[in-house]
């Protein structure tokens, strides 16, 4: 295999430390004036792509392409991705209609088109975006492409120049190691790595890296909706707990509540 051409889709989401609020119409969360940042799981996939390059494994990383679909602020997260080490970026301009953005299947079809067009042989995606928590895109993409997939990777190891990849992921009570051949789709989990903070010189360089704007139509994909969000509500407020003095108190309380 000549070189790794990695596609890393990234999403701009409400910052992980912000407590989201439901909008008045109960159709989604309030996004105006709220701090946004790069989806944490996507930070992991960018980091992993960059590490694959730095590790200088059996296959040289030829290209790291970051891609984001969304409104006019998307280039922010693409610059972040490029500051971390992506070589170039695509911004797929999808006007924000306040409906939470395109559905996972639309995104997967869009990625499929980019994979073909850009001759990609490895797609690294976050296992989910922390806004919609759908966790579907990677799997759908693998299905559309007919490629092997490894989800929720906690370790990615390129074994040889024929494109053999070993992926570890955590399962209940242990770890599972999978082997597959490129081209493939990998989704990332928290334990995969610890994403870097971009350095100032790299932040400056990223401003000059190529960022191309495209539309879904350019990629031959239509933003059709198959699902309708009926209602979004806050979780019920937590009820205050009670305090017990000691273990005896706990036991009698549990008995009283019929738990023992």
């Amino acid at each position: 295999m000549s070189g790794l051409r990695i596609l890393v889709p990234v999403k701009r989401v409400i910052d992980y430390a912000i407590k989201p609020r439901i909008n008045k119409a109960q159709t989604g969360v309030e996004t105006a004036g709220v701090k946004h940042s790069l989806n944490p799981f996507d930070e992991l996939s960018i980091e992993e792509a960059v590490r694959l390059r730095e590790r200088k494994g059996p296959i040289k990383v030829e290209d790291i392409l970051a891609l984001s679909a969304g409104g006019p602020k998307c280039p922010d997260v693409l610059r972040t991705a490029m500051a971390m080490g992506a070589d170039r970026a695509f911004h797929i301009d999808v006007p924000d209609k306040g409906d939470g953005g395109p559905e996972p299947l639309t995104i997967a079809k869009m990625l499929q088109a980019v994979v073909k067009e850009q001759n990609v042989n490895l797609v690294l995606l976050g296992k989910q975006a922390i806004d919609g928590d759908q966790g579907q895109t990677g799997q759908m993409l693998a299905g559309l492409l007919g490629w092997p997939q490894a989800t929720q990777a906690s370790k990615v190891d390129i074994k040889d120049d024929a494109g053999t990849v070993e992926i570890t992921h955590e399962v209940d009570g242990g770890v599972e190691t999978l082997r597959a051949k490129l081209p493939m789709v990998i989704t990332t989990d928290l334990r995969l790595n610890e994403p870097r903070y971009a350095s100032l010189p790299n932040i400056m360089k990223a401003k000059k890296k190529p960022l191309e704007k495209k539309t879904l139509a350019d990629l031959g994909v239509e933003d059709t909706r198959r699902l309708k969000t009926l209602k979004v509500t806050e979780p019920p407020p937590r009820k205050g707990g009670g305090k017990v003095e000691d273990v005896d108190g706990l036991v009698s309380k549990l008995k009283e509540l019929g738990a023992l």
């Binding site: 910052d15 430390a17 004036g33 944490p40 350095s199």
Partner: protein, 424 residues
């Protein structure tokens, strides 16, 4: 000591931090931790704000309180910033810097202080940000390569030696001397208040090379050197002080201290002029650091007064608590406008000092008042170390005193802007 490692994707749970400090609320700008919504920020300033916020959120208030107690230099923050190239933010690209302006550096310093790091965090790197500007401007290519490269990379630390015990703010009267020797100079005298000298590898030092009574102009006769500090001829003694215990400040005694010719910056007797060059920038940065502390205090005060219930309601519902905080926000924000105006003007080549001085003055005073009000808002808890605002207050005196006092700024405005007779 290790910087506490905090999982990056979970809302931070630092015990002893009052609830609410870490969870950002949506629409209250003053209570969101290092918000980046200020509408006036340029794109590059916002980039700096966000990048520095990320680094600083690994260093919670508990870290700063702990090193204030143990007097340990914040090496972890220093290294976190050095490793990512931040020490060279204003310095030339040739030596590893990024050549951004004071407008960006001010955002960086404000953000560091505002994270809860206060003057401790800011002072730990302050000298790197603009201190070597005289070298960048007047040094030879060889000197810049020799000095700026390791400074930016964080391999060498520098401190700044101007103040002397017997002359105070009257810098033109400096008494420490450098006598010509066969192949360089011999320095003797003393300096005081020299921050970070305990660990600094180098010092940028201003000393007299021509006696006062033999100079043509009073601004001549002083020369600037950048040289190794940790030598037996220099005795460095730490000064116990009110706040910022983690970043040392010292008295220096030196005698028969040989400094080679290669370590002189620019021309002999022209040192004062070279120091002046960076002065406005330094005031802007100190002012920005003060702002950071002020906003940090205000954030804590607003969050606390929203959560603390007395007489059946949050104390912040009382106008007696709410209004002083609102007043402080307005004053801090007004000072911020002036600081960033001064920075923008500086970057455009403006050399006047009125906005840099006035901005530093207003920022330090607004921050001081904000810190005091934060303590009073907390009631008894404001006096407890656990709530951090007492530490902020102890540190916020620094930008009021240094590098130039309030009185000297008023003198400057009186003389230069109002055209009044010089009072001193």
């Amino acid at each position: 000591m290790q910087a506490p490692r905090i999982p990056r994707f979970l809302p931070l749970k630092v015990s002893r931090v009052p609830r609410g400090i870490r969870s950002r609320s949506l629409h209250a700008r003053a209570t969101e931790f290092l918000q980046s919504q200020d509408p006036d920020l340029s794109e590059s300033q916002r980039t700096v704000r966000e990048a520095i916020s990320k680094i600083c959120s690994d260093f919670p208030d508990s870290y700063w309180a702990q090193i204030d107690e143990s007097h340990q230099f914040p090496t972890e923050l220093y290294e976190a910033l050095a490793r990512r190239g931040w020490l060279g933010i204003c310095l030339p690209q040739r030596y590893g810097g990024s050549e951004l302006g004071i407008s960006e550096a001010a955002v960086m310093m404000q953000t560091i202080a505002e994270s809860g790091a206060g003057m401790t965090g800011a002072s730990s790197i302050h000298m790197n940000i603009f201190g070597l500007e005289p070298v960048a401007k007047y040094g030879t290519e060889e000197q810049k390569d020799r000095w700026l490269t390791p400074l930016i990379a964080g391999r060498q630390r520098a401190c700044f030696g101007v103040t002397e015990p017997n002359t105070g703010l009257d810098t033109l009267q400096l008494q420490a001397t450098a006598r010509r020797s066969r192949d360089g100079y011999v320095l003797s005298g003393q300096k005081v208040w020299i921050s970070t000298a305990q660990r600094a590898d180098k010092i940028l030092i201003l000393v007299r090379t021509t006696p006062r009574d033999r100079v043509k102009k009073p601004s001549q006769g002083l020369s600037l050197f950048y040289t190794d500090l940790q030598v037996p001829e220099v005795q460095i003694t730490e000064i116990p002080k009110m706040g910022r215990a983690a970043v040392d400040t010292n008295s220096l005694f030196f005698d028969n201290w040989h400094v080679s010719m290669e370590d002189r910056v620019g021309e002999e007797n022209e040192g004062f002029r070279m120091i002046l060059h960076g002065m406005n920038a330094e005031r802007i940065l100190i002012g920005a650091e003060a702002l950071g502390l002020g906003f940090a205090a205000l954030r804590r005060a607003a969050l606390y007064s929203n959560n603390r219930h007395v007489f059946g309601r949050p104390i912040g519902q009382n106008q007696g608590i709410q209004h002083p905080l609102a007043d402080s926000w307005m004053k801090l924000e007004a000072a911020r406008m002036m600081i960033y105006q001064a920075a923008r003007l500086y970057d455009q080549g403006y050399t006047g000092g009125e906005y840099a001085n006035a901005g530093k003055y207003l920022a330090a005073e607004a921050a001081f008042e904000g810190c005091e009000r934060a303590i009073l808002t907390h009631g008894g808890m404001g006096y407890a170390k656990e709530y951090h605002v007492e530490r902020y207050l102890r540190e916020v005196f620094i930008p009021r005193i240094a590098p130039v006092s309030r009185e000297m700024i008023l003198n400057y405005i009186g003389e230069r802007v109002l055209g009044l007779p010089r009072s001193y």
